[in-house]
Every structure is written in C-alpha cells, then in structure tokens.
Symmetry: D4
Subunit: 225 residues, 8 copies
Amino acid sequence: MNEKYVDIDFAKLDIERQKRRGCSEAVFCECKTEEQLVKIFSEFQKQGQNVLGTRVTQSQVQVLQKKFSGLYYNSQARIVKLIQKEINKYGEIAICTGGTGDIPVAEEAAETAEFYGSNVKKYYDIGVAGIHRLFDKIDDIRKANVIIAVAGMEGALGGIIAGLVDVPVIAVPTSVGYGSSFAGLSALLTMLNSCAEGMTVVNIDNGFNAGYSANQINRKISGEK
Amino acid sequence: MNEKYVDIDFAKLDIERQKRRGCSEAVFCECKTEEQLVKIFSEFQKQGQNVLGTRVTQSQVQVLQKKFSGLYYNSQARIVKLIQKEINKYGEIAICTGGTGDIPVAEEAAETAEFYGSNVKKYYDIGVAGIHRLFDKIDDIRKANVIIAVAGMEGALGGIIAGLVDVPVIAVPTSVGYGSSFAGLSALLTMLNSCAEGMTVVNIDNGFNAGYSANQINRKISGEK
Amino acid sequence: MNEKYVDIDFAKLDIERQKRRGCSEAVFCECKTEEQLVKIFSEFQKQGQNVLGTRVTQSQVQVLQKKFSGLYYNSQARIVKLIQKEINKYGEIAICTGGTGDIPVAEEAAETAEFYGSNVKKYYDIGVAGIHRLFDKIDDIRKANVIIAVAGMEGALGGIIAGLVDVPVIAVPTSVGYGSSFAGLSALLTMLNSCAEGMTVVNIDNGFNAGYSANQINRKISGEK
Amino acid sequence: MNEKYVDIDFAKLDIERQKRRGCSEAVFCECKTEEQLVKIFSEFQKQGQNVLGTRVTQSQVQVLQKKFSGLYYNSQARIVKLIQKEINKYGEIAICTGGTGDIPVAEEAAETAEFYGSNVKKYYDIGVAGIHRLFDKIDDIRKANVIIAVAGMEGALGGIIAGLVDVPVIAVPTSVGYGSSFAGLSALLTMLNSCAEGMTVVNIDNGFNAGYSANQINRKISGEK
Amino acid sequence: MNEKYVDIDFAKLDIERQKRRGCSEAVFCECKTEEQLVKIFSEFQKQGQNVLGTRVTQSQVQVLQKKFSGLYYNSQARIVKLIQKEINKYGEIAICTGGTGDIPVAEEAAETAEFYGSNVKKYYDIGVAGIHRLFDKIDDIRKANVIIAVAGMEGALGGIIAGLVDVPVIAVPTSVGYGSSFAGLSALLTMLNSCAEGMTVVNIDNGFNAGYSANQINRKISGEK
Amino acid sequence: MNEKYVDIDFAKLDIERQKRRGCSEAVFCECKTEEQLVKIFSEFQKQGQNVLGTRVTQSQVQVLQKKFSGLYYNSQARIVKLIQKEINKYGEIAICTGGTGDIPVAEEAAETAEFYGSNVKKYYDIGVAGIHRLFDKIDDIRKANVIIAVAGMEGALGGIIAGLVDVPVIAVPTSVGYGSSFAGLSALLTMLNSCAEGMTVVNIDNGFNAGYSANQINRKISGEK
Amino acid sequence: MNEKYVDIDFAKLDIERQKRRGCSEAVFCECKTEEQLVKIFSEFQKQGQNVLGTRVTQSQVQVLQKKFSGLYYNSQARIVKLIQKEINKYGEIAICTGGTGDIPVAEEAAETAEFYGSNVKKYYDIGVAGIHRLFDKIDDIRKANVIIAVAGMEGALGGIIAGLVDVPVIAVPTSVGYGSSFAGLSALLTMLNSCAEGMTVVNIDNGFNAGYSANQINRKISGEK
Amino acid sequence: MNEKYVDIDFAKLDIERQKRRGCSEAVFCECKTEEQLVKIFSEFQKQGQNVLGTRVTQSQVQVLQKKFSGLYYNSQARIVKLIQKEINKYGEIAICTGGTGDIPVAEEAAETAEFYGSNVKKYYDIGVAGIHRLFDKIDDIRKANVIIAVAGMEGALGGIIAGLVDVPVIAVPTSVGYGSSFAGLSALLTMLNSCAEGMTVVNIDNGFNAGYSANQINRKISGEK
C-alpha cells in the first residue's frame, strides 16, 4: 500500500499500475472533458509512459492531435495511442467476429491487445449463418494462444468456437441487432449460458477488456514477465 | 359466426374447431380441476372426437385412466390421448434437441404432431458443444418438410440448423439451464435474434404449439386438406 | 463443408446460399459503411445474383443509386433491390397489420417475400379496436398459403387471426406504441403467449425474417424446388 | 382527520372506512397469522360490521370457521365473509374470463362485488381462441353497467370486449400461463397497451380490486349513495 | 358485424364507432405521415364528425392548420380538434397532478374528456412532498364523479386520493423522473400495487385513455346515453 | 491494515469490527450449515463478544439453543442473540410499518437497533390506505432521532413520512404483495423515486441494515462514541 | 395541516417547508418551462427565501441569469442558487467518487449540502481499480460526520468505504458506464446488496437527495436545530 | 468432422472431446433421470475415461454409488467423479470466496479444476466487509497462475482482486443474497461492469465453467499439452 499516484484533483493517476499489474493504466475518454484529457495525457507523457485512450470522440481527437504530435488514432476502434517506449511483441491472439457490424468492437480489442504487447490475427464475418466460413478458418484460429469471439444479435459464435478448440475463448457480446436483442443483452445471455465450457465473458461492447484480458493470458503463456 | 360450441358453464367447448382450423381443440390440463377434466373429456367423447390433453399432472392421469379406458399416456411429454377415430399419417417432421434435458419438451411436440397426423423422426442430444454430432445427421434432417429445434441454455441449435437447410425451422426454447438462463429467457432471446433467417419461434417449453404449427405446415406441404 | 464464399476481408460473402438454402443471402445494411456496401453489392453483381438490401439508410441509398443504375428502392420498407435475373412467382401470402403505423414493417415483409418469389396480398389497418374490419376481410385472408400478422401496442391481431384459419400464421411484433409497450416487448410477449395455436413469432420489427420464413413455407406448399 | 380507528397494536382497524369511502375495509389474510385474523374478525364483529376476508388459506379458514359460526367460504375465490347486516343489491356487473383457469380470479371479483352490493352475471371461457363464443354472448354482456375481463396468457380478451361496447371495462391479468408469460406480466402489458380505449387495468390476479372498483362505478351509475 | 367503415387503403376508418361505443374514433398522429393525416381528417370532415388528434407533432400541426381552418391546438397536450358539431357537457371530472412536470399528460386527459362531453376541473402540483396542499383541496376533489390522478417519479398520489374518497379513481403514471424511475415504470408499479382499492390504472403517459375512460364512467353516472 | 481476525477456514471472523466500525459483526445464518454456526458462535463466545444472528431458520435455532443456554430468540424477526456484556441504551428510533404483513421485517430492524444500543418505539399498520392513522401518530414519530419506514406493495409510506418531518428517514421495501409487486421491486422503486427528499433506502426485506444504519446515525446524534 | 402554500396555478409553492422540514423546498428545473421557472423563482424571491434550482439546462440558466442578478451557477452540477439570507455552516461531509466521470453527480451533492448548511470536503477519483488511492485518504475521510460515495459502473466504492468507517455512508449510483451497466442499474444493485452494513442508497444520479440527506444527518449530529 | 461419438439414443456421448479440446466431457446431472445417468456413466467407463458429474442430486448419488464402486462424492460441490486413469497435476489456481455461503460454488470450481489437472489453493470468506482479511492473503494469492473469485450479494470481490494482481481473474457470481440481488443478477452485473480490467465472467453459480476455464489457462501457462 505504498504505491504512488499523481493527484491532479479531478483524477488520481495510477502511475505504478504497470509495476503492480503488468500493464499501464488506460484512459476511458468518453465521460471526460477535453480539458481533463489534455491534463491527463500530459501527465502520463511527463512520466514517460505509453498512453492508451479508449472510447474517444471525434472532437476529443481533434483537440488531442493538436496538442500531442504523433498521436495514433483508429477511428473504427475509437482508440488513440501516445507511444513513447517501444513495445516488444509476443504470442498470438485470434480475434473473430460474427458479422461486419461487430468489427468496431473487434478493432478496439485488437488495438488494446497490441498496445500491451500481443500479436493479433483477425478473422472477420465468419458467423453461424454460413458456418462453412468458420470451418474454413478453424485450423488457423486454434493455433492462437487465446481466442476472442465478438458477436451481436444471437451471439452464438463464441460457443461454436469454444466447442472446437483447446485454448481459452473470451466472448464479447456486441450491441449490434435490434428489437429483442435489447442492445446486446441477448448476445450477453447466450454467451453466459453457453454449453461449451472454457469460454468466459466480458461486458457488452467491451473490446478493451477483452483485449486486455486476452493479452494478460497470452503474456503468461508466452512466458513474458 | 354461426359455429356451435358446447356450454358446460366453466368451459365452452369449441367442437367445430377441426372444421374451422383443420385440427380439433386440445385441453390444457394444468390449471383445471380433476372434476372439470372428466367433464370435458366426457363431452368430447360424446361428440366422437379424438382428445389431446397437455401438461397433465400425475394425479390427473390417475383419475382420467380410471374413467376412460384405453387412455394413452406419455409421462415424459405429460400428454394423454383418447383416440376414437383412426389418424391418417402424412409427411415428415424432424425433431431435434440440443441436450438430453430438452427431451420432455421435444416429446410434447412429437406427440402433438403425431396426434394431428404428421410422421415424426427424432434426433436427440446433437447440440453445439459437439457439433460433429449434428453434422453427422444433417443430411437426414434436411429431408423433412419441417424441422423443430428444441434447446435450452444458450439455445444456439435452431440457428445453426436453419443456416444449413432449405425448409422451415420452428425453434422451441426450453427452461433447462440455471443462473442467467432465467428459466428459458436466454434461449428465447437467442432464437428471436438469430442471424439465420427462415426460423420462427414459440413460447418457452411450448412443445405443444411447436408440434401443432409444424403439423399445420406439413399438412399443407403434403397436400392434405 | 466444401461450399465456396468470397472473402473481401471485412465480409465473407456466402455466394452459395441459394444452392444450400433455396434463397440467396440478403445484406443487412444498417451497421455497414457506405464503402462496405458498395463493395458487397459490386461483388454480388459480379456473381450475377439478385441482391436484397434491408434497413438501408437514406444516405446509403443515395450512394448506392449513383453506383448501381436501376436499383429499386422502397423508402417505407427501407429496402433496396438489384435485380439481375427474373423472379418467377408462386403461391400467395397475406400480410395484415393492426394499424397504419405498422405498415413499414409489413412493407419490409412484403418486399422480402416478393424478392424470393411469393405473391403478396395486403390487408392494412384491420386491428382489434374495430374488429368488424377484420371479419369483413377474413374470407379473403384465409385463402392464402401463409399469413403474416404485423402489430404493435397490445399485438393481439395475430392470435385473433390464428383462431379463425387453418393455415400457418407468422406474427411480427412492432415497436409502435409508448410507455409500457417497452419498444415492442408488450406485443412480442402477447404473441408468444397466444392461446391460439398454429402461430409462430419473429423478432420485434423483423419484417425481413417474417417475409423470408413465409416465403419458405409458401415455396414448399407451392411445390417449388 | 378526526376519523376513528381501533388500535389493536399489530393492526389499526379503519372502522369508519364505509363512511369515508362508501365501502367497509376488507382483510387481506395471506400474510397474517391465524391469531391476528381471529382478533381482527372479532373486533369488526363487535362493531357490527360485515367482514370480507381475501386470499384466505385453508388452515386459516378452519380456524375462523370454528370461531365464527355462519362464516361463508368460497374455496375457488379464497374468500370468507361474515355477514351481520343485509346487503341491498343494485345494478349489474358482467364478469368474463378468457379460459377455465382464470375462474378463481373471476370468482374473487364476483364475491367482492356482491359483498359491496352489486349484482353479478358470469361469462366464463369465452376467450379469443374461439371468438364466436364471445360474439354469441356480447349482446348480453353489453347490458351491464360495468364489465370485468379476466384473462391470462396473451390477455387479449379485455381489448376485444372494450372495442365492442360503450360501458367501462376493467381488465384483470392473471398469472395463468407459463414460459414467457412471466407469471402474468405478458397479460398485464397486453392490457395496458390495448388499442381499444375505455379499458383500465388492475394488478395481476387482483380480482378483489377489480370487484371493488367495478362496484364503485356501478354504485354511482345506479344512483346509490 | 354489419358495421361500415371507410377504406382508404392505409387506413380503415371506423366511422360508426360513436354508434357502437358512445364516442367517435380518435386519431393517434405520432406514427402517421402528414399526407396520411390530411387524408384521414378530410374523410372524417366529409362524414361531418368531430375529430380528435392525439400526440401530434409541431410539423404535423402546421400542415393540418393550413388545410383545416379553425383547427384547435393545445401544444402542451399535443392535441388538435376539428369541431363540426356542438358538444353538450355533463358531470365533472377532477384531474390532479403530483407535480408541474406532469401537466402535459394531465392536459391530454383534460382535452380528451372535454372533447367527449365531460366538464373538467384541474388541481395541479398537489403531490405528496407537501401533502397539506392535497388536503386543502380534497373536499372539492371528492365532489367529482370521477378523479384522474397523474403522477411520475414515485407515483404515490393516486393511492393517497383513492384512500380518501368514495368515487372511482383512474391513475396515470408519467415518465417524469430519472434513474430508477425507468421512464415511468416506477410510477406504474406503484399504482398497480396500491393498497387503496377503488383505483384502476392506464398505460404510462396515456392521458388520452384516462380522459376517455373517465368520460365513459362520467357519462353513465350523468345518465347520458 | 494490522487488524486481527480469527481464521476458522470456512470463515474469517472480523473480531475487531467493533473497534473499527463501532458495532460488532453480525452472523447471516441463512446460508450456513448448523455445524458452521455452532463454530462461529463458539468463537465469538470465546472472545467475550455479544453475538447477533440474523435470518436464522427454526432448525438452526433448535441446534443453537441446545448448545448456548440463554440464547434469545425472536421468531418473527428470525433473530437470535447471545448477550455476554450489558448494552447501554441511548436515543430513540421510530419504526413504522404500512401493514401488518410488514411486521417481521420491522422486528428484524428493531432487534438489530436495540442490539447495537438504540431505544426503539414501534408504530405498526399506519399505511396510506387509512392515512388518518399516520396523522394521529406523526407528532410522536417526529420526536425520534431517526425514522425507519417499512412497507411492501406500493411502498408509499416512507415518502409520506419524509415529507412531514425534519429527521432522517430510512425506507425498507418488503416483499409483501403479489403480481406486479415482483417480490418487493415495486416498493423498492417507489422509495428510490420518492419526491420527498431526506429519505434513503436499503435492500428489500433488509430490516437488519435498516436497524444497523439507523443505530449508527442515532449513536452519532446521541453523542455516543 | 394549517400550513400555507402559494398557489400559482401550475405550481403550489411549499413556502413553509423550512419550518416543517428544516430545509426549504428546491426547484427541480428539468421538466419546467422557462416561463414557469421565472415565476417560481420570483415568488420565492418575494418571500425572501434562498432558492436552489437543480438539473437546470443551459438555456434555462440564460433566462434566469437575465432576470435574477447575482444568480450563482455551477455548470458541472447543473445547479443554480439565489442567495438572499446568509447560510451558517456546521459539521463536515466527505464526498468521494470512484472516477472522474462521476464528478457531476458529486458536485450536485456538494452544492446541495452546502446550500443547506454543511461543510463539504471532496475526494475524487479514488475508486477500486487502484485501491491504494482510497487507503491513502481514508483517515481523512472517516473524520467526517457523514460520507457520500458516488460511483458508476460496478459501484463498489460505497461498500469498501462503509467497511472501513464508523459513520453513516450514503451511496449514489451513477449512470456512468455502458453495456450491461444499464444506465446505472448495475451500480444501484451493487450498492443495495452490499455486505457492508451501515450504508443506505439513493436513486441513480440523485446527487441532490444524497446531499440533502447527508446534510440532514450532519445537522442533527452537529446539534443544529 | 470425422470425430466419433457414442449414440445411445437419448444422448450422443462426445468421446473424443479430450482429443479435440484437451479435456473430456463432463455430465450435467441435474436434468437427467437416474436411468439415463447410469447408462452414460457405464458407457464412459467402458471407454476407460475418467468421468465428472456435476449438479448431482442426493438420490442420484445413491443410485450411482450402488452401481459404481469407488465413486468419489463431494456433497457441498454436488460433484461425483469416477477415476480410471491417474491425473497428473500442474500449476496452481487460487480460489477465493467473499463469504461462507459462496463455498459450495467454489468447491464445484475446485473439484473441476483438480479433475482436469490443476493444483488448487483455497481462500474462503475474505470479502470486502472486512477487507484486511483479503490484504492479509494477497501476496499468496497473486502467486497463482489464475485466480477464481466467487462472490454473491454485491459481488465486489473479483474487481478488488483484479486491481491488485497481474494474473487473469475469472469471476463467478453466486445466487447468495436476497431481495434485489435477484438470485445472482446483482453480482453478475457488478462483475461485468468492473473498472478493474483483466477479469472475465462466467454464469451465475457456474463453478464448473470457472474451474474448467481456469484449468485451460493454467494448462497452457504450465506448458502442458
């Protein structure tokens, strides 16, 4: 309990998180003002840390890009990165989506996993309505250390994959769908109730945590410290 | 609006339903007293009609069997039948379940479909946790005129099948599961949100309506009146 | 499992779906970028297939119409079609709505059913608040091979019709309503719990699946391959 | 605010409710001990008031019947009555049910309405699965001053009746059903969202309040004080 | 079942509703196009009927006012009226609100009740946070034939009033509130579960049905045909 | 973080909770085996602490009473107490219930508050259906330092009281009710959405936390350490 | 019941609330028109009372600031104040947030508590993802008379704090989060089900009631009248 | 897709699951008849495989123990095991519970993980109400390859741990609690919405999947095939 943090009043920056948790703190941008974001990024910059910003809005990006040259931005993933130290890569995570509409969440997971050190391979639009597309790729997919399955609507993709592989699967329900999909609830329940054991679940649309958790497993499997 | 019915006060028996709808009325036993059931069965017997009783309890069966000799009873399906006129069979319905626990609901569907005239073929425990079991049977399954897919927990079976066949699929969610399956809600939502078009859904555990609806489609496809 | 598909990275086009399922793949436009849609439509055009796009936005239509001359657009139904091969028609589907507000969903069902080959007849605004309007049309409605009942608010229309006919009824709940209609949940539950057997249900506002499923049944009844 | 009540510690008996509200207080038995019930009934007996007990259990009835001779008991309705002053009857309430399973709730409504002074006429099992049964009775039903419509499952009965009459309709959803009826929620939502105006709703299975409210309206229409 | 209606394709106007139900049909504007509304109003105008339009939008009003001179508009209530025959008034309805924010729903109820013939008296902002305001008015309120209680948030107003009067109370939950009011669900449940008998409930924000139902009761009590 | 606890494997007893929190730990009995309870009580006995057991079952009580002479048991409250040190009393808490059925939860609150040192005064069955009963007592009630309002069904009691007093009110929703009370959800939402500020809420049926929290406030107001 | 109020038709101002409840009435601005707000503020100004307006919109502020010079406005808290009499301060309330995004709700609580007389100390962004930040401040926090814990997402902050202190904790769930946070429901349930006794809960995002309730407790502890 | 299975009609045993998935199939006993269980266990016995039965009832155990000598049974975990081949152990999983009531679910996880090869270390009753108990153990806990956090009620344990370690955390919500815990929903939502990244979630009470998934990760980290 002697860890340090930087107190800037409206935020207490957890600058020793990498030491404690293996990965540095990410900044959840959505509910912060542009002024607050600039201060937070500046502080981390001062500490010489790499910074990952998630759920960034377009107007936030414009402000940040003016202030921080070289800021990386992936608009689909709604992610920004400020890279100050090189990232050494290890292992492989496979990221699959059921449909094209699930790609933004998958991209958030991919960008996060890469930020923390994992290699990523993507398999998009291989959902169960045309299941031969999945079977065509499955031998490749099962070579990864961890698999992330991203799907909305009925959300069956994760369970199908988990039933075919011997590696951990992390399922991400998305809010893609309408009517009784109830903004992702349907896919979330499908995934939680899967008959195929060996799959765990994160919050709806939470590509960030999927990428983070997959990297954490991958890092350990890859023997990284 | 000149159709007849038999008024026995606590019930108005719709004795011309077969004429109007192609299939006679079934008796939902669960919320009726034994006395009421005996009166209703007697009345239909008097009319010379075949009678189908659903969701019958064990103590109801004992009373009915004493009163009506030759009463057929399937305990898994919780169904009784009083057959007074021979049933001519036509076409074929395939009934599939995800697991062993879904069999009671599948049996209710099977007994119902057979009562109204359909031939039935059963494929039990072919769910997605070991999907090769389904693929092993799929060429047989797709020969049916209609497919009924019965599944609890994540309820993915129906969508997988619908994506592989060119015949109508009727999905029945079951209350098998626990925790966030919420007594069948999870499977119901999965089925309603399936990416695989061509599948329609009935109420949780409603094997009766699945069997009835499948028979109705099968009857028309088979060219029965 | 030797079926082909076209891999354009963000999408894997299921070009043999017609062979496998009797009907070609439709494109769910809502969650795709305009760029993605143009690529998908171009690919299907190259394959010589008819294309059905659902839930298209106005700005998507403008882009598509520039690129694909002769593109058909129904703004109520939010549907576009690119017709490259003539469609042979068979059988008849009756599409009914409870109110005027349910027409967009009914139109989506109608356009879909026609795209896949069915003849369609429409009966709009015949809901239960003035039930004589339904009784005036019922003799016509029951001549169809399949009936689609589209209704929001209390969603009672489907059950009333199912109780009067001997053909399959597919019920579509709509999100028309307010307060405790909970965006279509009320109508969905009504339809799932109908006392009138022989009716199955699709997702809220899912005119597309209703049209697809009705056509599938109609095609089989009409003896089409 | 000078009204009196009798304070027996665990209960404060509202003995002037008839003066204030036109109807005396009823006793909700379900969550009271037998000892408490005996004390409450004795106190009202002492005051010379008629007593209505609702949701009484079988073991409560046995205790009460020993103590209070002449206690009236309707087991279907789960109601007991202790009548000490004659009840003058007026007007007519029609009580309809969708099915046989809804009769217990209808009986609770009927017993309550009669206790407070209304004449009651019953129309049981006239639900929408065989709607000609309703149409056969509708001319009789619409002669009442108020109509109570009791239905479970889809709960469509109330709206159909309301669309055909010019008198107030009170709808009572029942917990009859299973699966996605969610113990009466489905019928409740149907009734709240009815397109047929002129219908109001009470709590699931609340025959008591339906009977009370209908009597209140009937009393005013009948010109009773 | 020989009643007439006017068939204008997208709508079937129930022109004999007044004969059948005592009150003419109202037009739910929200989900209709401006073109549809003009046609519907014109048709009713042709029939010489008074027209009530509910949930009208500002742009709909502008179109209607150009076309129909003398159109009455209450912007709070979102109601338009086209009066062609004088309305004879009878009896009195008391309309109460818990807060100022509930007034739009109360106004919808008031305009509706007046359109169909009732006199209306208003008591706004007398909710339970300062209950002496209600007690100050209660002697006036209880003189009405029917009381409408409109409240959001906790929705306790209706039950308090019902416990103090001997006339029917119709409770209208509103969507005023935030957080766990869940857009009116909290107030709806409060009202359905009220301990004070003699109160019935309508849908969230449904001032129209409250006004309609209250008028129906008031008309019968007032001895109007 | 140097606090001690007693580790008995299946439980880690927080024996310094009184020092840290002002009140000792209570034992939630419901989900513990009888064997576990005996061990826990023995350990606390050894430490010389008073012990409070909540939600105790009848068979647990029988085992505990054999083992621990002088064990106090309140069957309504489902509470046992083992008193080894005298309790000094201070201040006053008023505990009110809406109905007779809410008494068990109120008793749990009362026993808890007294165990921790508060004086308690009880006002049972003063709910809003006969609001003059509340007004008759209000001058007494508002003399307390804290008020606990216990109510099921609509749960309006707390808000009414909070609107009339200048002391903190803690509201406890109970699961008394049926149908759409949804086992206390209705009362919980009512209380969370109350217009009367100054009231806070605890979990459904959680008399224990209400008593604990009220005592904590009372202790501070009374100037106890 | 002889208390006065000012009747301005659309509102009944409870001008004696301070006398009755210790704190004057606050104005919930969100659902009022600008015209209504001006009238209400003017009336309170006339009475010489301090006025607190909550949930004020930017356009409302502009109108009010023109009319009432010296109006205080905190844009984060969405609060305005019109101060006419000096406020005497007493005691201390600690206000903590889990994250930066919870600050607006915390500010609403702080402004409210200060308006009614409490001293406030703020501890922002000390949530459980980096729990050493909380432990660093806890000795300060527990010196307050009351603690307010504001948190969204999982909402664990309140329970952690309650387990460490001997003063009352009021927990405020916020709608910060996404997916299955369901707009604050997740945090609300966490707080209601906390294992740490001594914490009570207010509605989602209801900083106002948290501040009001905390002040009420603080005022009593501080011995203010 | 050439994998084998054993077809015993009511079940299709996935005997090659170990080859495909690294772990053999487990038998979910709860919804199977005793007759079915005996047949399934016999078949696996014939194949020489170890068998794990979950959610076994007491009467099922009695039947199985008669038939299969040496059957291992853990009554808390509701698990039976038939061990025919020795299990080689690797790595370490830490299993923590919030309270004593969560132990049965933790035991199910422990038995499962051990069955598949993991070493397990247990930390029970270290929940947040006395957080020093967790801090006392944390240095031990973080040495594991994977951590399982089991908690009911508010379910905060998982997030606290995840914020302190650099290994993967799998959270298991339990149905321990009452009122608004809604049978585990509260804990489930807490865990899904945790601010502490690196934690994934399984279904309520699903100790089996937690143990299975943790073992899968542990196996890969330990370099087992």
